[in-house]
């Protein structure tokens, strides 16, 4: 078993009186696809926002371990540094593309930091130094590579807002990959996709893991995606972890079944006692 890339310890997030995530601990291992699942309102997106720096957790520690051994404590980093230095990229549940910019420009914006230093913090770029021209050509090549992987090459010069829903999801993933992340966090990547698009997405995610060695952490409702591609599943309910293991283990877990499907009236007390409510 490989080492952990992301370790979440005793993560707690309070919004006033509301306890959204309560003392959550789990690990995502390098090279794995880890899924976080749970019913609506279980706190999945809150966990994601804590990992990617959009929320500051009330308590707890989130450690990101790079392949070269460097570690970052994500709860202490500003959100843009989490992408820039800790190499954690994310997508959003409600797609957030730059809709007025072209598909290609979206992928170039994602390469902002390397391009910024290549342009000499704009000074060399304004003067038209060749170093920036080369860097931009490389950036366009990289964008073209990801466009090819997502089947969007033909639409590279169209505004991102013109794309249908499925390709927009794919473009958001491609954009996140252009930041060269070690850990890619996907917030419901299959939401709103039809079964065929779901299959294409699964292929893309497998490709990302295999060819780029990027570990994935995903929130998902679509069980076909979760069960098919994930190596490790964490189940949340009311901000508490109720199960953690392989997809097969989780599927058989009575607590998970109870959380998702409910139980007969006669069994409520027994199950509640088991779950600890």
């Amino acid at each position: 078993m490989s080492e952990a890339i992301l370790t979440v310890e005793h993560l707690t997030m309070r919004f006033g009186g509301l306890l959204a995530v309560n003392d959550l601990s789990f690990e995502a291992r390098r090279g794995d696809i880890t899924a976080v699942i749970g019913p609506n309102g279980a706190g999945k997106t809150t966990v994601f926002n804590c990992i990617t720096g959009f929320y500051k957790p009330s308590q707890g520690r989130i450690t990101m371990r790079h392949a070269d051994g460097r570690t970052h404590l994500l709860e202490r980093l500003a959100d843009f540094r989490i992408a820039q230095e800790a190499k954690v990229a994310r997508t959003f549940q409600n797609i957030r593309l730059f809709s007025g910019m072209t598909v290609l420009e979206n992928l170039l914006v994602a390469q902002h930091n390397p391009l910024m230093s290549a342009s000499g913090w704009s000074i060399g770029g304004i003067l038209g130094l060749p170093a920036y021209g080369r860097a931009e050509r490389r950036a366009i090549e990289k964008a073209a590579y990801w466009l090819d992987k997502c089947g969007l090459t033909d639409r590279a010069d169209d505004p991102a807002g013109d794309l249908p829903y499925g390709p927009q999801r794919a473009l958001e993933i491609a954009r996140a990959m252009c930041t060269e992340p070690e850990l890619l966090c996907l917030d419901e990547p299959a939401a709103g996709l039809n079964p065929r698009e779901s299959l294409v997405l699964n292929e893309l995610l497998r490709f990302i893991r295999k060819e780029h060695g990027t570990s994935l952490l995903l929130i998902e409702h679509d069980m076909s995606v979760v069960m098919e591609i994930s190596d490790h599943v964490v189940v949340l309910d009311y901000g508490i972890k109720i199960s953690d293991g392989t997809p097969a283990m989780v599927r058989e877990d009575p607590k998970v079944i109870a959380a998702y499907l409910g139980v007969d009236d006669s069994e409520v007390e027994k199950v509640e006692a088991e779950v600890g409510l």
């Binding site: 540094r81 989490i82 959003f92 007025g100 170039l108 902002h112 910024m116 704009s122």
Partner: protein
């Protein structure tokens, strides 16, 4: 035009596009000479003894013919470059694709044509009106409009590209103007009086840097604000600067303002009637119009610098980050873009151009007071940016010509007095017409004159992005 298909023609390949464009331009120029020659070259006027004489205006006709030549040359060249394999004659090409090419010509042919017009404008006015009349046209229409073009292009970086609604842009204009006025009237005479003639050229960069510094200073507290809140704070900032200038009389001389600001020199040669002045040095007869023409070219260069820099920045990562910020700030942060720095650079660079324009304004006027930097100025500049289409340089320039040139033209409409009576002053209706025009534009073109956005990079071909997708930013 059919030489390429002529069997007797020696070379099988068509002539080079430049040669062809030059020939077409020559034909156009000859036709223009024939058409305009009799109309423009001769004019009948009365001389001092009230006799009817014929006045010849060969300079004017030369300019017109040259303009036609240059315009036709650029147009032909552009067509040859855009569609080398298309039909043999320009006419055939034109008739084939009228709607598309008209739009394209406007898009790519307008800037070079406008540029040529910009540079020959003072000469044209001089030959049209003669010495004293030219002053008004170059100053009120040329320089005045160009100052606003430059301000609008500067504000366009903040509002149009980065999507940050700034209602206090005039503050940076004031900082630039007062920086030049105070340094040139107090600091330089007290320290290096010998540098007096160079004052404008020394203070221009200093004013820009100071304005940029104030831009950053304003940027810091307002970074967390968006939309309406940002607009209110920037509005207040503009007022604070103005009120400080009014009340801190020891510093800025309050309402009385600062007068006798040194005028710019021709790179060290002053514009005066002395023996070392510009006219004497170049063997010309002294006339105040030379300074005005020089100021005109200075502001042309400053405005073009603004356009060049902002166009260049748009294609750099920082410009793309500005536009991305306007589209979606949260997505920017998820991609590792430092939004604080990105916003601050937008504020600083926008403010810097405001500062340049301010120091030019002070140099042109020779006198400044807080009255020149009221909220109305900010509103007009912002209206130009919005009217032009946020983010578009061509649209913004057109809007500045329409708004500032339009209000100046109202002063020229004295003949209206014949219709509405002696007390009628069209300039009094300026704001009314201004408001009506804004309402009309909102109905007719809600996203401004040029609402499409040109992408900063492309894989196969560059296509404009329709305004439906482009966001306006939330502050």
């Amino acid at each position: 035009m059919t030489s390429a298909t002529d069997p007797n023609f020696a070379r099988p390949e068509p002539p080079s596009p430049v040669a062809r464009a030059a020939r077409e331009a020559l034909f156009a120029a000859i036709i223009a000479l024939g058409v305009f020659g009799p109309l423009l070259a001769f004019r009948t006027t009365q001389d001092m003894q009230n006799r009817l004489i014929v006045e010849t205006r060969y300079g004017l006709i030369a300019i017109v013919v040259l303009l036609v030549f240059a315009g036709r040359f650029l147009l032909s060249l552009w067509f040859a470059r855009a569609r080398p394999e298309a039909g043999p004659t320009l006419g055939a090409r034109l008739s084939g694709l009228v709607p598309r090419s008209v739009r394209d010509v406007v898009r790519s042919g307008l800037p070079p044509a406008a540029l040529v017009a910009l540079f020959v404008y003072p000469m044209m006015i001089m030959s049209l009106t003669g010495g004293s009349g030219a002053l008004k046209w170059i100053d009120n229409f040329g320089i005045q409009i160009l100052i606003y073009v430059m301000l609008a292009w500067g504000l366009n970086i903040v509002v149009g590209l980065a999507g940050l609604l700034d209602l206090g842009y005039v503050a940076f204009y004031a900082v630039g103007a007062y920086a030049y006025a105070l340094i040139a009237t107090k600091v330089i005479p007290a320290t290096f009086p010998g540098l007096g003639v160079w004052a404008f050229w020394i203070c221009l960069p200093i004013s820009g840097i100071l304005a940029a510094f104030w831009g950053v200073l304003l940027g810091f507290p307002v970074l967390r604000l968006r939309g309406d809140y940002l607009a209110i704070v920037t509005l207040a900032f503009g007022e604070i600067i103005r009120l400080v200038l009014i009340n801190w009389t020891a510093f800025s001389n309050g309402y009385e303002g600062i007068s006798t600001i040194p005028r710019p020199s021709f790179f060290g040669v002053p514009f005066n009637a002395s023996d070392t002045g510009f006219a004497a040095t170049f063997g010309l007869e002294f006339s105040p119009v030379y300074r005005t023409i020089f100021l005109y070219y200075v502001i042309v260069c400053l405005a073009l610098l603004t356009a060049w820099v902002s166009n260049r920045l748009r294609k750099l990562p920082v410009g793309r980050a500005w536009e991305a910020l306007r589209e979606d700030e949260i997505a920017c942060r998820s991609l590792g873009i430092n939004t604080v720095n990105t916003k601050l650079t937008a504020f600083a660079i926008g403010a810097m151009f405001g500062g340049f324009a301010g120091s030019f304004f002070a140099a042109r006027q020779g006198f400044i007071s807080p009255e020149s930097f009221t909220f109305m100025e900010s509103a007009v500049i912002l209206a130009i940016v919005v009217l032009g289409g946020m983010g578009s340089l061509v649209g913004t320039a057109l809007a500045a010509v329409a708004m500032i040139g339009g209000t100046e033209l109202l002063r020229e409409l004295d003949w209206l007095k014949a219709i509405f009576g002696r007390d009628f002053d069209p300039a009094q209706y300026r704001m009314l017409i201004f408001g009506l025009a804004m309402v009309a534009i909102m109905v007719w073109k809600p996203r401004g004159f040029v609402s499409t956005r040109m992408p900063s990079a492309f894989l196969k071909n560059r296509r404009a992005v329709s305004a439906d997708h482009v966001k306006e930013g939330q502050g």
